[in-house]
C-alpha cells in the first residue's frame, strides 16, 4: 500500500536582510517538491515587489505563467506567454500581488506555497503557486494563484528565491519539502 511522505529537505530563517536564498544540490530522490515561503521585503510602499523563483540558475526564456489575482474588491487574470527578465535574468514570479513590504502593516509577512510535481522528469515541468498577503486585511488583502511552466529538461536541482527589487528582511522563512508517492 502506498505510503506518501512529506519530508523537510531544508529550512532557513533569515538572520538579517538577504538578497536571495538558494537551495542547491536538491536530491532527486522524491517525486514532487513543495516550497513554503513566509517573507517580507524591504522595498518602499505596499506590496512593492514580487517574489521570484529561478530553477537550475536558468536565466533564459524558459518560463511562462498565468496569473489569477484578487486584491480588495477587484479581480483579474493575465497570461505571460514570454517570460519576464529581472535584471536580465528570466525567472518565474511566484507572488501575484507583491509581497508585504514597508508600506504594509508592520511585522506582517506574506505567505506562499509553491508545488512542483515530477521535478526530476526530462520533460517540461509545471508548477503552481498560491499566495496571500496582508492577511490582517488592514491595507492590502490579496490572494493570487499562478500556474507556470519551466521548459527545462533536466531535473530541478536548485531553486533560487529572490525579489524583483529589494531584499528579504530578517525572520523571513523558507522551507523546502520533498514528497514521495510511496
Amino acid at each position: 500500500m502506498a505510503n506518501p511522505t512529506l519530508t523537510l529537505i531544508s529550512s532557513q530563517t533569515l538572520g538579517g536582510t538577504t538578497a536571495s536564498v538558494t537551495f542547491s544540490s536538491i536530491p532527486a530522490t522524491y517525486n514532487d517538491l513543495k516550497l513554503v515561503v513566509s517573507s517580507r521585503n524591504d522595498g518602499a510602499g505596499a506590496l512593492a515587489n514580487f517574489g521570484i523563483i529561478q530553477f537550475n540558475a536558468d536565466t533564459g526564456t524558459s518560463y511562462s505563467c498565468t496569473f489569477v489575482e484578487g486584491i480588495g474588491a477587484s479581480a483579474y487574470s493575465t497570461r505571460t506567454n514570454t517570460t519576464t527578465a529581472y535584471g536580465g535574468n528570466h525567472a518565474f514570479q511566484f507572488s501575484v500581488n507583491g509581497i508585504d513590504s514597508a508600506g504594509n502593516t508592520a511585522s506582517v509577512f506574506s505567505s506562499n506555497e509553491i508545488y512542483i510535481p515530477n521535478y526530476t522528469s526530462a520533460t517540461q515541468k509545471p508548477f503552481i503557486s498560491t499566495d496571500g498577503t496582508e492577511q490582517n486585511a488592514t491595507t492590502n488583502n490579496a490572494l493570487g494563484v499562478i500556474s507556470g511552466l519551466w521548459s527545462g529538461t533536466s531535473a530541478i536541482n536548485s531553486i533560487k528565491i529572490f525579489a524583483n527589487s529589494g531584499n528579504f528582511v530578517q525572520y523571513s522563512n523558507f522551507y523546502l519539502y520533498g514528497i514521495k508517492n510511496s
Partner: protein, 78 residues
C-alpha cells in the same frame, strides 16, 4: 548591501556571501524596471480615475443623481 544565502541540501552547509558586482548590477536593473512599471501603473490608474470622475460629472449634469450613477455602475460590475 545584502548578502546572498546558499544552502547545500545534501550536506546542510549554509554559505553566506556578499552579492557580486554582477548580482548588484542585475538587482539595480530589475529595481529600475520595477519602478518604471509601478510608475506606469500609477499613471494609468490616475488616468482611469480622472476619466471616471469626468464621466460622473457629465451624468450628474444630465440630471442623474449619484445614487442613480452608483446603481448603474454596480449593475455593470455584476
Amino acid at each position: 548591501m545584502a548578502d546572498v544565502l546558499i544552502v547545500d541540501c545534501v550536506t546542510g552547509e549554509v554559505t553566506t556571501r556578499p552579492q557580486t558586482a554582477e548580482e548588484i548590477a542585475a538587482q539595480e536593473v530589475a529595481a529600475q524596471a520595477a519602478q518604471a512599471e509601478a510608475d506606469a501603473k500609477a499613471a494609468a490608474d490616475a488616468d482611469a480615475a480622472a476619466q471616471l470622475a469626468a464621466t460622473n460629472q457629465k451624468l450628474l449634469a444630465l440630471g442623474l443623481t449619484q445614487i442613480d450613477i452608483n446603481t448603474l455602475l454596480n449593475a455593470a460590475k455584476a
